[in-house]
């Protein structure tokens, strides 16, 4: 790896920089240890799942069980189907939130129109409602209008989770975005719409990446809404994972851990592929002169 360039005022190997690295290292040990332990748990047999620590005979059986027809028998849903359902729900929810939220964020960020703060606060306020408060009436209504156990129903409800996040994060980016670039495009004869699409949108790419990623993750991990609002046809994966815990005598922590790891793979893939958009964006600074 090429040596990183030093920022202003930084020295390469000072006590401060070593101290900084140690702090980072400490955080990552804390952060990764439970995940490592979860992987170990997923590799343990039933008899060893709680009676051993680090010395045990590993097995890949749990992963096989989760994905096989045995897994379907234990949870009454095919795990790969559940993964697919989650992908459809979450990608759908994020796309809807982006398509509808970006204009709203742009309007509030670029033009401080009268009432923009109120609109923004209203959007945010939908996150205030405790889930349990709305879940029972929502269940009744969904059954009445036929949205119970459907993808559309979940995508709509997930807007409560994804929309406020996307709109608020992107508003900050649109606020910081210098207006000059867009003005330049307008002077060149672009319509407002093209100026927006060709100039403004690419400038806030890191923001879109961060917002979409976080919204996707929160939608993916949402538990209460799918628990109540889906049935046997469109079960998402987070609900399926908890079914592996079993009941009535023995708890299968190892199966649950294996299932949770598999369920974490799609968001992980999304995160890794979006990573490159999170790096330093086009330098605004160049324009400010």
């Amino acid at each position: 790896m090429a040596a990183r360039e030093l920022g202003p005022g930084q020295r390469r190997f000072s006590p401060a920089s070593i101290g900084a690295d140690l702090v980072l290292l400490a955080w990552f040990v804390f952060s990764l240890f439970p995940l490592v332990w979860m992987v170990l748990l997923a590799l343990k047999t039933d008899a060893e799942q709680i009676s051993t620590y680090f010395a045990f005979t590993p097995t890949l059986e749990n992963f096989a069980t989760v994905l096989s027809s045995e897994g379907e028998r234990l949870t009454s849903v095919d795990f790969t189907d559940a993964l697919l359902t989650s992908v459809i729900n979450c990608v759908g929810a994020v796309i809807v939130s982006l398509v509808i939220g970006i204009p709203a964020a742009y309007a509030a960020g670029r033009w401080k129109y009268r009432g923009s703060n109120d609109v923004m606060f209203t959007i945010l306020s939908f996150r205030f409602a405790p889930e349990l408060m709305v879940i029972v009436p929502l269940f009744v209504i969904y059954n009445q209008i036929g949205l119970f156990d459907t993808n559309v129903g979940m995508i709509w409800v997930l807007q409560l989770v994804t929309m406020p996040l996307i709109v608020w994060i992107l508003r900050s980016y649109f606020q910081d975005m210098p207006a000059e670039l867009e003005q330049a495009a307008l002077l060149d004869g672009y319509t407002r719409k093209r100026a927006f699409l060709m100039v403004a949108l690419p400038l806030v790419r890191p923001g879109i990446a961060a917002a979409a990623l976080l919204a996707f993750i929160f939608a993916w991990n949402n538990y209460v809404f799918p628990l109540i609002l889906t049935g046997s046809q469109n079960t998402p994966v987070t609900v399926a994972v908890t079914r592996f815990l079993g009941g009535g005598g023995q708890a299968y922590y190892n199966l649950t851990a294996a299932a949770a790891i598999i369920a974490a793979l799609p968001p992980l893939l999304v995160a890794l592929s979006i990573q490159r958009y999170l790096v330093r964006g086009l330098s605004f600074g160049a324009v400010k002169s």
Binding site: F121, L124, P206, Y223, V279, S283
Partner: protein, 312 residues
Amino acid sequence: MTTTAPPRTPAPVVQREPRPVPAWRRGLRPYVLSIPAVLIIVGILYPFVLGAYYAFLNYAAVVRQPVFVGLENFANTLSDPAFWSSVRVTLFYAVVATVVETVLGVGIALLLNRSSLIGRIFERVLILPLMIAPVIAGVIWGLMFNPQYGVLNYVLGLGSTFDWLGETTAIWSVILVDVWIYTPFVAILVLAGIRSLPKEPFEASAVDGASWFYMFRRLMLPMMWPYILVAVIFRFMDSLKIFDHVFVLTAGGPGDATRTLQIGAYQNSIIQLQYSRGSTYMFLLWVIVFLTARYLVSVLGKAQRRAAGSEE
């Protein structure tokens, strides 16, 4: 004046003056752009109002004829010490968790921004704790916390008598799990924000001989405030409503040590089938969230203005 403006696609062949848009249409534009966002969630308003309405009835599964009782539920709840205990627990949880996560998150973002070797290796895995659903994280941490067979007591040498979820330790342990899951959220948000800051002011400052600390306080922090505050708002609101992993770990116990408002509501509505009492809890929780959000948003507005001012 030379700029390194982004490469532009060639201008359209036909050069013409853009047709002037009437003023009233221009004024309407922002509203038109924003309405769909508000509309799509309006559907949620109806169940919310319904849920809130239950708080004004004496609705429970065993009550044959629920009737309107006005503010009686509120009177009962507001004079119930269990409710106030829940409020205390919830506020304590939210404040501590948010403060710790913000400080840690900003710190990690700053450290990662240095792009040291360690930083670059681990940045990829920063987000991993967020990949695990909070419910599952609760299960896994519960297994780790167990004094009998949990790995934490084993690895830290605490023996089989240290109880992570005892009367005095439970609240700290559930906050610890919250910090584990959500600090990456703050860090990622702030890091993305830092990375989009303009380089110029910092270069200019360095040329003037400023120390890193000075640059941080005078330049970076004010410009970062808006991003930090977005993270704070979302974290604080979500922690006020916390349920998933706390319920898995302690079900609100021991006693009432970790009985947050939403857990109390759950126990009333779902376990005891006292819908109206549960709705009252949730309505009051909603009020708390509303008020604190309003306050935080106005703070955000001020910070925004200060940041814009400091860039001049």
